[in-house]
Amino acid sequence: MKKQTQRQGSRDPDSGRDGVRSGTACITRRTFLHKSLVAGAAVAGGSALNFFETFTAIDVANAAESFSFAWVSDTHLYPKTLNTRFVEKATRAFGEVQAMGSKFDFMIFGGDLAQLGDPVELQLGAELLKEVKVKKYFIPGEHDWYLDMGAQWNKMFGASPWKFDHKGVRLIGLNTVGYAPDYWSAKKLTPKERMGAMSALDGSMAGPWSGLGHDQLQWLQTALSDWDKSKPVIVFSHTPLYEYYPPWNFWVRDWREAQEILQPFKNVTNFHGHVHQPVYNEMGNMRFFAQLATSWPWPYPPQGVPALTKAMIRVDPGDPFDGVGWGQLGIASDRTDQQYKMWRKEVFATNEWDSGAGDNGNQVLRPRIADRVWPY
């Protein structure tokens, strides 16, 4: 796999490609801190809970008081009768969050609680989530949504977008999954078929489904209209607010409009799920932290990773607990800490041959073929 030598997220005036900006990445103090601390790899401290903490620290925040919160997402629960592994891993994550509960002001659940949006799956998730006693905030994933267009999700976990202020930071939760262009009506898909088409990451039928939409962009504009431009803003989203890899919807299609709204603010941080892997990127005043899944890790996209990302280590597919976990985020007056609570000792590769992004140098991939055939 190729390491991208350019930072993603804007139009390259030379190539005309979206999402890629020419030029060498500028090494700021932020970048230096990030790279050096990530390279520092594992830090002891979580061994009592049998995980290893890995810090990524960025001096982006300016919170009035420091605080920590937990992120769990992408549990992808099936009914317990079909798959117990995902249940075990979600249970472990929620148990660990609760064990450290006094440390956290709140927990974000970042979407894809269910695999196929089935009420049985969502109910199972709700039961498991009861383990966590701290205040919980929810944003949906596409797997939670397309069986009934979010009806059950909204009923159980509340509607999004939302916002609240906490210790000098404005926190915003977006719905980046509920505004797909209608790919089902013309094909007369049943709700199950609509969900099935959405559930394959590399499917083409649902198209560029991740987006905010006009109304939500307007809401975002209004939600920030009374906020001081020098104060920090944290945005939670299931999919990343930049163009990472559109064929797998590792983006929101209207990220330019979203960034235009966020651009006037001095410190903006986007924490997102969906990609099931550690990724870090910066664009102007914004930085982006991808979070782990509890269910399984995705491979890095064939085009590579943003230049500022240190890739995770290759994992063992024979060990269901490898390459997955949850996240602890810390906000202080001068920095943001990202800790990957991955259930293995080494999170990042030190050797090229061990890197999840380094072993694909000769790999060239084609999109799939079967879902191009009109099946209905």
Binding site: L82, N83, R85, A200, W298, D359, Q363, L365, R366, I369
Partner: protein
Amino acid sequence: MRTRKLRYAAALGGCVLGTVLVLGAQQAAAHKDPVDAQTLKMIEDQFTEQVIIGDKLFHGDGDEQKRLGVTLSKTGMACAMCHPFTADTHPHEFPKFQVQMSEFAALRDMINWCIEKPNEGVKIDPNSPAMKALEAYIYWSNTGSKLDPGRF
């Protein structure tokens, strides 16, 4: 009487031999004939058909598994859930020593390992139509990848 039997046997043998020679010659001629556009399309269609079947199996299609009599997963997991666009299947790196298996493995060995371990499915016959279709899809999807056998 004995002579007549011998004549019948010789005639029968001659017929069989003649049939074999004629069919063999036709086969040889067909193989040596220039391939016309229609035949070429037939060959390509055969391949594409297998790729599509493999794609469906790779993405957990229940009907296709039933048709071919295979159970690739018992957990709801499908191959594509860890390998979108067949990423990280690396068919161009096989055969190689596969660490998880602790043995020198071909692609089809690794496919069966994935079916059995992460997917908790039922191993398939390495020469079965399902295996050939899965291989067809994985190789097709990696068209353009550079051969690099043995790579870790």
